[in-house]
Symmetry: D2
């Protein structure tokens, strides 16, 4: 298991007329979470793409527990719970400043060859870096 935390501050444009964060903006926050997690390996998502591998999302699940408001400083906890294969699972927890759980969710992404759009093994350097966390 490998985890990391990062923060986002809610933008005005991310709220809706209910006065809270629009439900469709949390996938963006999840993306911030997993981008940050991968940076912790000194392995940017950008560098993966540059090596000819893309990582489209194939599944997204979110449970909304408590509303987030404009200007809230949210903490995104992202976890890779199991050793990735051609698929990689990310779990997310988003909490507000009071420590209240705002949303939980997960995404499944697939390593895919940029040209053929076929599933592929993760890059070697990614496997090397992530393996120790699952031994």
């Amino acid at each position: 298991m490998f985890s990391a935390e990062t923060q986002v501050r809610v933008r005005y444009g991310e709220t809706d007329k209910m006065g809270m964060v629009y439900y469709g903006n949390y996938p963006l926050f999840f993306e911030v979470g997993r981008t940050n997690l991968m940076r912790e390996f000194n392995l940017t998502y950008r560098s993966i793409e540059n090596s000819g591998i893309i990582l489209p999302v194939t599944e997204l699940n979110i449970k909304y527990h408590y509303p987030a408001s404009y200007d809230d400083l949210l903490t995104i906890k992202t976890t890779i719970p199991e050793m990735p294969s051609v698929k990689i699972l990310f779990n997310y927890e988003i909490l507000n400043e009071a420590g209240k759980l705002v949303v939980t969710g997960n995404t499944i992404l697939v390593f895919m060859n940029d040209k053929t759009r076929k599933p592929t093994r993760p890059p070697e350097n990614f496997i090397d870096k992530i393996k120790p966390f699952f031994e």
Copy 2:
């Protein structure tokens, strides 16, 4: 069971650098689908809010089957599969012009009193209109 269809054309700003619709934009399309479905009852979501009831989303699930591209004309099929209680379930299927399945998903929303933020029964006129479809 009650169903309706509507269409959206993919905007440039809804794509990402992978050249396809960003995974986080489908919740917006789902919202277009359920807004349209409710309009079929001559019952706008706007009118529900004006009667003091809000409908926050409590759960979202999406499976991504096939990428959608810029300028694609997508068909959103929205279904209410069971009689709503304080919760209402919407199922979605999005297809492209070739009839290929792009995404499937569902959302659960909760009828909530605008002031107390407590769950509440759906508005009477909504129940009256939707009931015949589940008899």
Copy 3:
């Protein structure tokens, strides 16, 4: 001068906590307007890109006159007021269902070679189609 009209219905996710359309969502509506205008020439923006020419925006100006609300059906009037060179100017007017002026604005886009990222002449078929409107 060449003009066309199209419509968008305001999505819940396009509003903000002020209860109106977020100021940063109008550029999306402008994009819908100019995409539609070009389709009127049987010339899609997509086909321009496929011929190796991209059209980045170099300037955007918006004046906000009247708020738009959730579920409003907005009319976008888009005009090409002068014969395009390497640059193309689009003017926009957005009106609500009551005919009230919501925003006015304009964008300047530049025809650019996809590979060299240098400004270039518009595609021949585009020039052929648009020329008659400026004679």
Copy 4:
């Protein structure tokens, strides 16, 4: 004149199929800039709204100089160049990590009574705090 700087990292969902930040996402970055500038006065935009004053944008102008890419760390320099009246002008410069100018722009916002939706003077504590910078 009063200035402040803050940073945003470009999200994947903020790019478009051209591979760069979508032109319509910069207004969100401007919002981050001015929210941060006001926080420098120990005066949050949130607290202004709580005192019954809203600040809708009435004008937006952007010039796009250089593309920003996914994962770029952008610096937003926001300036209030003149003493605000019922209107407040913000100037913005966004630079990438190499110090290259990405966009410049400005917005005009109007202090408005939440209830009457009429223009109003800025809150007293805001005037007190900002005045010394223009003397």
